[in-house]
């Protein structure tokens, strides 16, 4: 998602919607009013199966097995319900979404529901005729991840031999077929020096959009933080490079950037606010306010197998838990920015302080902030640790070990 929320004279860019939809009836009170704003984006994690094993994977550490995945009809029903309730864009992701043999049916259902569909793929197993068929069925946009621009680096990160060559081939098919292409560049200490080359590669491939996505330290990336986190100086240099390229490549390449918030002073308005513009569905049908929400143990999540999507969005406990600002503690509660950043990220507050109601420690006002910055700088200054690759065996091992929470400042 983009941080861009600028207002043009004739266009407003929407990441979170303020318009109630006809599919949703709001009430008088503030809570009902918040619920009345249907989400604009849906991330559908079709499967957790994946040929790659990237150590910063955004999937939860506890991976879902294939036997629990939603059926074809269940996913198609999700797409129809999403269209009816006013969702505008669907991101078909995973794991690797093309591992689903029924991806064609799901894309067709999304298209018929009027959704703008985005396939988020590693592309290493994608065949040209399949891509052509998906386009015919209404696929609107393809996003391909490149683990590095150097093939050796990419192979070490994804643990998949020959990945880069295959990805380049698929990227060229995408542009030849006239589909818009986004290059996703997951950034960390092993490839941060290659940000300029990612930009050049995206232009050469004819991509419309490049995501410079600094790893966000949840789930697998949290486990691998000491193996991944770049230094403060490297991070700043990468931001400068992107800002210069944005100006130079105006009208040629759109560059979106997600920065690592360990070095920030203000927290990110995570998801544009909890339960405000976005929902995520896991391979087994659980509906989450964000893809990391399962890391908050006190939350229970409803399933599309049991309840309608709209009902879950409006009424489920998990979506209402951190909607608005009533749940906040100090320093958020009396903060002038509380309606701007919503106290940052609940999952990061959970991961670092063991209380999801605390201010995100990325905020300089958090009593945990200095310790978090120090942790990041210390880890970045040491040699990188070995990767814990994202696979079911490491998931089992990781779930047994316990991480110590930070201690707040006096």
């Amino acid at each position: 998602m983009t941080e861009e929320l600028r207002t043009d004279e004739h266009f407003r860019s929407v990441t979170v919607d303020d318009e109630p939809t006809a599919g949703v009836v709001g009430g008088e009170d503030e809570a009902a009013e918040l619920c009345a704003r249907a989400p604009v984006g849906l991330l559908a994690e079709l499967t957790h199966r994946c040929p790659l094993q990237c150590p910063y994977c955004s999937n939860p550490v506890e991976l879902e097995g294939v036997k629990n995945e939603l059926s074809t009809e269940e996913w198609c029903s999700v797409m129809r319900q999403a269209g009816e309730m006013g969702i505008l864009q669907v991101h078909l992701s995973g794991g690797e979404p093309t591992a689903r043999k029924d991806l064609e049916d799901i894309v067709k259902a999304a298209s018929e529901a009027g959704l703008y569909s985005n396939l988020i793929t590693a592309a290493v197993t994608l065949k040209r005729d399949r891509l052509e068929n998906l386009q015919k069925l209404g696929l609107d946009h393809v996003q391909i991840s490149f683990q590095d621009v150097d093939p050796e680096g990419a192979e070490k990160i994804g643990a998949y031999p020959g990945a880069t060559q295959k990805k380049l081939e698929v990227a060229r098919w995408v542009t030849e077929m006239g589909l818009p292409l986004t290059i996703n560049a997951p950034i960390h200490r092993h490839n941060i020096h290659n940000v300029p080359r990612y930009i050049d590669m995206s232009v050469e491939l004819g991509a419309q959009r490049l995501e410079i996505a600094h790893a966000q330290y949840y789930g697998w990336a949290f486990l691998n933080r000491a193996a991944l986190i770049p230094t403060y100086e490297e991070t700043l240099a990468s931001i400068d490079c992107v800002e210069a390229a944005r100006e130079r490549l105006k009208g040629v390449l759109t560059i979106d950037m997600v920065v690592p918030d360990y070095y920030a002073k203000r927290p990110k308005p995570c998801m544009g606010g909890w339960g405000k513009g976005f929902m995520n569905i896991t391979p087994a049908g659980k509906v989450l306010p964000c893809h990391a929400a399962e890391s908050i143990p006190e939350l229970a999540f409803d399933n599309v197998r049991d309840r309608k999507l709209l009902d879950i969005w409006m009424n489920s406990d998990a979506f209402n838990a951190f909607r608005g600002t009533d749940w906040m503690k100090e320093p958020c509660r009396s903060c002038a920015f509380k309606d701007i950043d919503y106290g940052g990220c609940r999952c990061q507050a959970m991961a670092m302080t063991k209380d999801p109601r605390n201010t995100d420690p990325a905020c300089a006002l958090s009593p945990y902030h200095n310790e978090m910055v120090k942790l990041a700088k210390d880890e970045a200054a040491k040699p990188a640790t070995a990767f814990v690759y994202r696979n079911p065996r490491n998931a089992a091992a990781a779930l047994k070990s316990k991480e110590e929470p930070l201690v707040p400042a006096e």
Binding site: G114, G251, D256
Partner: protein
């Protein structure tokens, strides 16, 4: 306009440009919310009435001049004022990659 740079591949919209929307940009009516939306990769824009009227005329055949003339007639407004507005609007969109010429 001063300080205009022509970076490689950047479309500078002028009166002769025949603008069209690339296939990945979808102008759709959002019935639930009673408005128009422009859907693009990871972007949702809500164009106002003027922008919708302009975009609906961007078919790759009409020039900016012809688009402006048509709108000037429809809205009974001076053509040169409309032309300047249309140029501004389309340049802004071209710089986001949403209009090709």
């Amino acid at each position: 306009m001063t300080g205009e740079t022509r970076s490689p591949g950047r479309l500078i919209v002028d009166r002769e440009t025949k603008p069209h929307m690339p296939p990945y940009l979808k102008l759709r009516h959002d019935a639930g919310r009673g408005r128009w939306v422009l859907l693009a990769p990871e972007r949702i824009l809500t164009p106002d009435q003027t922008a919708v009227a302009v975009l609906q005329l961007c078919d790759g055949k009409r020039t900016v001049e012809e688009i402006a003339a048509k709108l000037a007639e429809e809205y009974s407004a001076p053509a040169d004022v409309i032309t300047a507005d249309v140029l501004d609007l389309l340049q802004g969109l071209a710089d986001k990659g949403y209009i090709k010429g």
